[in-house]
């Protein structure tokens, strides 16, 4: 599939989901089971994206202090929990990552 075909496909899917209930004639409520399931979509999806990026940085599982991404993610999560501020979370995570990468490059602390 060409990038243009993919852009068109992604646009059609996203628009379809956004219009799904708005576009229905009359009043329509989601079945309770579906409503309950949809609530878990964001935490499940976001966590599924984060975990491999953080825990498997170079193709192998790395749960150790030497994993700079894991340490940076933990610091960022603490900031997210305390401040709920997206920018502060990103800034903390990147600062931690750069600091640890510089330290590890020099032979480690």
């Amino acid at each position: 599939m060409s990038p243009w075909g993919l852009v068109a496909g992604m646009a059609a899917i996203t628009f379809g989901l956004r219009l799904s209930i708005i576009g229905l004639p009359g009043r329509f409520g989601l079945p309770p089971l579906v409503r309950r399931a949809l609530r878990f979509v964001p935490p499940a999806v976001f966590s599924a994206i984060i975990a491999p990026d953080v825990l498997v940085p170079d193709g192998t599982l790395a749960v150790s202090l030497g994993n700079a991404r894991l340490a940076a993610a933990v610091c960022a999560a603490l900031v997210a929990w305390r401040t709920r501020n997206v920018l502060a979370t990103i800034a903390t995570g990147m600062a931690t990552l750069w600091l640890l990468q510089a330290l590890l490059a020099r032979g480690g602390p």
């Binding site: 956004r18 708005i22 329509f28 409503r35 935490p43 709920r84």
Partner: protein
């Protein structure tokens, strides 16, 4: 000033504080798309017609890594399922509008636009005010977000050519999602959904066609629902036998 114009401007002003989160998000998207070798025109077109930050973010490494098109589309579908919830929540308020308005506002229904607009509709209802021109407010909020998203994408695509890979800027994606997911972990069911999805995503890394992401999301949703059912089941049995 006509009520329509007043509402349009009020909606635009209401999203002002949220732009602080949208602009860096758009910038980073542009930088990452450039880094993944995606054509600038395709990346900008994606911002213009898909207009869904998190789906675009996830599509970038998939597209850059040569994942099959069906996986990109399936991921978009799972990732944007939450918009059905927004759609259901907005539907009663948009019911009196014609089909063109419904389509336009649905196209602009991002997380941020939803958050701002639904608050306004709820305020209208609480103050028993007729929401006759509130759709202009929704349009003002949605259009402002769209224009700012295009501008920040363009700036990111321009800057992206100048950022060296050693900056590990692609990690901002994981950090952005950490910032979004942590506030959702306020109850045991949410934590269960997130932990299960994370574990399955790591275990499923070896799956072909990057299917691990989809499998992880579906397992997380199922685990969250089961945890919730157990908690409410306990609450129900407590209320029967006090």
């Amino acid at each position: 000033m006509s009520p329509a114009r007043t509402e349009l401007l009020a909606g635009a002003r209401a999203v002002g504080p949220l732009l602080l989160g949208v602009v860096p998000f758009g910038l980073i998207y542009g930088v990452l798309a450039r880094g993944a070798g995606i054509a600038a025109t395709a990346a900008q077109a994606m911002s213009a017609v898909v207009f869904a930050g998190s789906a675009q973010f996830v599509a970038v490494p998939l597209l850059g890594g040569g994942a099959p098109g069906t996986i990109v589309l399936l991921t978009t579908l799972v990732l944007n399922l939450r918009h059905v919830l927004y759609s259901a929540s907005m539907a009663p308020h948009l019911q009196p509008l014609g089909p063109a308005w419904k389509r336009l506002l649905a196209f602009l229904l991002t997380d941020e636009a939803y958050a701002v607009t639904i608050l306004r509709y709820q305020r209208d209802r609480a103050e028993a005010r007729a929401a006759t021109s509130t759709h202009w407010y929704a349009l003002g909020a949605g259009l402002t977000l769209w224009v700012v998203w295009q501008a920040s994408t363009a700036a990111g695509l321009y800057l992206g050519a100048q950022v060296p890979p050693s900056w590990s800027l692609e990690f901002t994606l994981a950090l952005t999602f950490i910032a979004l997911v942590v506030p959702m972990l306020s109850d045991a069911a949410g934590v269960t959904a997130a932990v299960t999805a994370g574990a399955v995503a790591v275990l499923g890394l070896g799956l072909p066609l990057k299917l691990g992401l989809v499998a992880a999301a579906l397992s997380g949703i199922a685990a969250g629902m089961m945890a919730e059912a157990r908690v409410s089941g306990r609450a129900a049995s407590r209320s029967i036998t006090p």
